[in-house]
């Protein structure tokens, strides 16, 4: 159709965006543009220099920038437009974009949002105290150290013990900055236990069952006050505070658009093929499941891109209607969040979810009264749990529930 400027517009050039572009390119689509608001492509891996990428895609560990470079070599025909911000998504495949010359509008046959995730910073977590400089996130830290080559502080405290918290530790080690401590509200680290070895090797204590009760410093940070097990108060002098992890999807464009959102977390609804409530828009990658590893996002993007290629080739007849995947307490979000029937692919689907608190018990999926899946699982927050090959019936909502106790895994 001549009224379309391009076939597919992909928003975001992280692993999932590059993957979708690659799949579409390999399917023969020429008119694909990946929009990136930063000056350089790559998303989060661009400033993540430890070798936590590539194992699944390239069967070897790679740094973030090397991973991205290798991915880009797989899609030589894809056009990237950097320093270009998408400011609005509208029905009919319309994107409003801003670059140095101002605003313009483009129309694409299909739009893929791959806008990624970011950490929840201090304010969003309602952390008490004053508001001095020196309070940042791991993402910002990585950019300070690797991109700007600047040292934001010398004696920081890391808040959180997710995988990314140890990435912060790694980044500090690279810069020769020794953190004072790591702080964890729970009784164990959120990442896999061996990660503590890095902290141990660097001589950084991890304070468990500990929360921040005060941040001090008028202009720059001077100390934090912590409370351990609800009764032990301690002052920790420091000049930096890194809020790590607690990822949230960067869904600003989707949330301000016509797309249907899950009202409880404001994440756009996506079906098992990453199609949203608007069949001309997909949302892929960490925007809907903050945050999985770069390799997982890449593999997801390949599948999602291949599906869009089939859709644009006219090989898929897709139901407009969709059924919800409802979930009970203790579950943060599911991917997909809706189910839709089509004449293509497997009637079985994979369901991923994240829990809000540690859980040990039975994970159960039901269609009304009928239980279609039941399995004992141990679930930890920040880890993706995937249930595979779940059957579904067109038009019927399904319920995901946890039967057992939360907060039981110590």
């Amino acid at each position: 159709m001549s009224s379309f400027d391009i076939d597919v517009a992909i928003v975001g050039s992280g692993p999932s965006g590059i993957a979708a572009a690659t799949a579409l390119s390999q399917a023969g689509f020429k008119d694909i543009v990946v929009y990136e608001r930063e000056a350089d492509i790559g998303g989060i891996p661009r400033h993540t220099h430890h070798p936590s990428f590539g194992l699944r895609v390239f069967k070897r560990p790679m740094s973030g920038p090397k991973f991205i470079a290798a991915l880009v070599r797989r899609c030589p025909d894809v056009r990237f437009e950097t320093s270009t911000t998408i400011t609005a998504l509208r029905p009919g495949g319309v994107l409003e974009l801003a670059n140095a010359t101002g605003l313009q509008t483009i129309r694409a046959r299909h739009i893929i949002l791959a806008t990624g995730a970011r950490e929840t910073p201090r304010h969003g977590r309602l952390v008490p105290g004053l508001r001095p400089q020196g309070v940042i996130t791991t993402g910002a830290l990585q950019q300070f150290i690797y991109s700007a080559k600047l040292r934001p502080f010398e004696r920081p405290v890391i808040v959180g013990t997710e995988l990314v918290s140890f990435s912060a530790l790694w980044t500090l080690r690279h810069a020769g900055i020794k953190p004072v401590a790591m702080i964890e509200t729970g009784p164990r680290i959120s990442a896999y236990r061996p990660a503590t070895l890095l902290a141990k090797a660097m001589g950084v204590p991890i304070h468990y069952n500990t929360e921040i009760t005060d941040i001090s410093g008028i202009e720059t940070l001077t100390q934090i006050t912590t409370l351990t097990r609800g009764n032990k108060t301690a002052a920790i002098p420091c000049d930096g505070l890194i809020f790590s992890g607690c990822f949230t999807g960067e869904n600003t464009i989707a949330a301000a658009s016509h797309l249907c959102l899950n009202p409880s977390n404001r994440i756009p609804l996506v079906d098992q093929n990453w199609i949203t409530s608007d069949s001309a828009v997909s949302v892929i990658g960490n925007a809907t499941h903050p945050a999985d590893m770069g390799d997982q996002c890449y593999l997801e993007g390949i599948k999602a891109g291949a599906y869009v290629a089939q859709l644009l080739a006219g090989n898929i007849a897709m139901d407009k209607a969709f059924a919800e995947i409802r979930h009970g307490d203790g579950i943060k979000m599911t991917t997909p969040s809706i189910l839709r029937s089509d004449n293509f692919g497997d009637p079985l689907f994979d369901l991923s979810f994240h829990v809000t608190a540690p859980f040990k018990g039975t994970v159960c999926i039901s269609h009304g009264e009928q239980v279609i899946y039941e399995e004992p699982r141990n679930c930890l927050p920040t880890r993706r749990i995937t249930l595979r090959n779940i059957p579904f019936q067109a038009g019927h909502p399904i319920d995901l529930s946890l039967i057992g106790k939360s907060d039981v895994i110590a």
Partner: protein, 466 residues
């Protein structure tokens, strides 16, 4: 070097100090503004609810309502020339209980007594049709059509910029510790530096009584009242149309829900008495309490994320009204007890102070002829305005959440009137790092762009500094 001699020295660069400096500079006085912080708005003025009030609920006959209404009128007169934004939202004082519903009548009468003739009671049905996001437990409201939302930081900056263009001086990082009056001039001292001026105007807000002691025994004491606020992400702004005010109690105006000029939704403030005049912490329990209150009024808030939390100190005194007075024979005017209405009243207070000056000190007030005012044009920061990124200023967006371009950041650092010299100053001038990610995406880039330009720096502390 001979010591500079000023006609007027204004102590305190809050919104009132900036407006007073502007007024005297435009009147032709050689005026100097001294501020102890690193930028204007380092104290009470940086944290408020950014509403341009009609004065509908102020005490009738008070100096406060007079200054608010004069300030309101002057803001309407001058804002377009300064390119200052205004969002004509109107306000709704919502009754949530039968008891509050019965008070609406009185609120309308008081508004009319204050000359706000268009305030009127509206029914529950009208209220809910105008504000369909409000909880259905709302019972009715008073509509105040001319309550508006403005930019609390660009307005005072514009006042000072205009003053500077009229010949005013200013100096930050300058805390006055003492002073002496020689019968003709005041000599104010920081311990390292001395400033001499014929007239001193004390606009120091939460430090007002301490500074007042330089001249006289203050007739009031500052009793700081802390207000904590939450700023919700821009997605929440569409949940309301008007400013949602509660029915005030004897002690507090209560928790307000309002759009900000930047397209966010603001919830607050709390009202807490405290001793400390300099620091205002946020506390989790209070913030969670605000969220509970806000979500009860506006159920759709649940699920929207919080972009920022902040707290401010209002320079309340034991008195309800402003405490503005001149000390005859001592060339001193104290402008104190400007509680939470300073943003609205500032221009009116400035006019009142100028009048007080000419009435009390006719010899000083004979300033040289006023220059023709030059009107600085403020950059567009309002969400509803045409922002730099939309116009295409030839540079890239640095702060993605607030869509701030490199050009805007460089302009705020490079401009000659009152450039940004601290991170707070840069944030308030451009919105950079004010968004939902709190600098996740842009703070390192901002550190690069501001290297050697702001203090304290965002990065690059030397190891021997602590």
């Amino acid at each position: 070097m001979p010591e500079a001699r000023w006609d007027v020295i204004v102590i305190g660069g809050g919104v009132v100090g900036c407006a007073v400096t502007r007024r005297f500079a435009l009147a032709g006085a050689k005026t100097l503004l001294l501020e102890r912080g690193r930028d204007i708005l380092s104290g009470a003025s940086k944290a408020n609810s950014a509403i341009l009030h009609t004065g509908f609920d102020a005490p009738p006959g008070s100096l406060e309502v007079a200054c608010m209404q004069a300030g309101y009128k002057e803001y309407l007169d001058i804002h377009a020339r300064l390119n200052l934004p205004m969002l004509k939202t109107a306000a709704l004082v919502v009754a949530w209980t039968e008891e509050q519903l019965a008070q609406l009548d009185g609120i309308v009468s008081k508004a009319h007594e204050n000359g706000v003739d268009d305030a009127r009671q509206i029914s529950r049905k009208d209220l809910l049709s105008r504000e369909d996001g409000l909880s259905k437990t709302a019972l009715g409201a008073v509509e105040v059509p001319r309550e508006y939302v403005i930019d609390p930081w660009s307005a005072p900056l514009a006042y000072l910029k205009q003053a500077v263009r009229a010949g005013a001086g200013y100096q930050f990082d300058t805390e006055i510790k003492s002073g002496a009056f020689d019968g003709e001039y005041w000599h104010l001292d920081t311990g390292q530096q001395r400033f001499s001026g014929r007239l001193v105007i004390n606009c120091t807000g939460t430090n007002g009584d301490n500074i007042e002691h330089i001249c006289r025994k203050p007739g009031f004491e500052i009793r700081p009242r802390k207000g904590q606020f939450l700023v919700y992400d821009k997605s929440a702004s569409a949940l309301i149309n008007s400013i949602i005010l509660p029915v005030p109690t004897a002690t507090t105006k209560g928790v307000v829900l309002t759009k900000t000029i930047f397209g966010n939704l603001l919830l607050g403030p709390t009202a807490e008495e405290q001793q400390d005049r300099n620091v205002a912490t946020v506390e989790r329990e209070m913030l969670e309490g605000l969220i509970a209150t806000g979500t009860e009024m506006l159920p759709g808030l649940a699920g929207h994320s919080v972009t920022a939390t902040y707290a401010g100190l209002r320079p309340a005194t034991q008195f309800k009204d402003y405490q503005i007075s001149a000390e005859p024979g001592k060339n001193w005017i104290g402008v104190n007890g400007i509680r939470s209405t300073g943003l609205t009243a500032a221009l009116g207070i400035a006019a009142f102070v100028e009048k007080l000056c000419s009435e009390t000190y006719s010899d000083i007030a004979d300033f040289r002829p006023a220059p023709i005012p030059d009107w600085p044009v403020m950059p567009v920061l309002a969400e509803h305005g045409k922002r730099a990124y939309q116009q295409g200023d030839g540079t890239e967006i640095v702060c993605h959440c607030e869509r701030v371009t490199r050009g805007e950041i460089e302009a705020a650092l490079d401009e000659s009137d009152v450039p940004a010299r601290s991170l707070g100053g840069l944030r308030r001038r451009t919105r950079v790092m004010m968004g939902r990610c709190n600098g996740f995406y842009c703070s390192a880039r901002v550190a690069e762009l501001t290297q050697g330009r702001i203090s304290p720096p965002l990065a690059g502390h030397k190891k021997d500094q602590t």
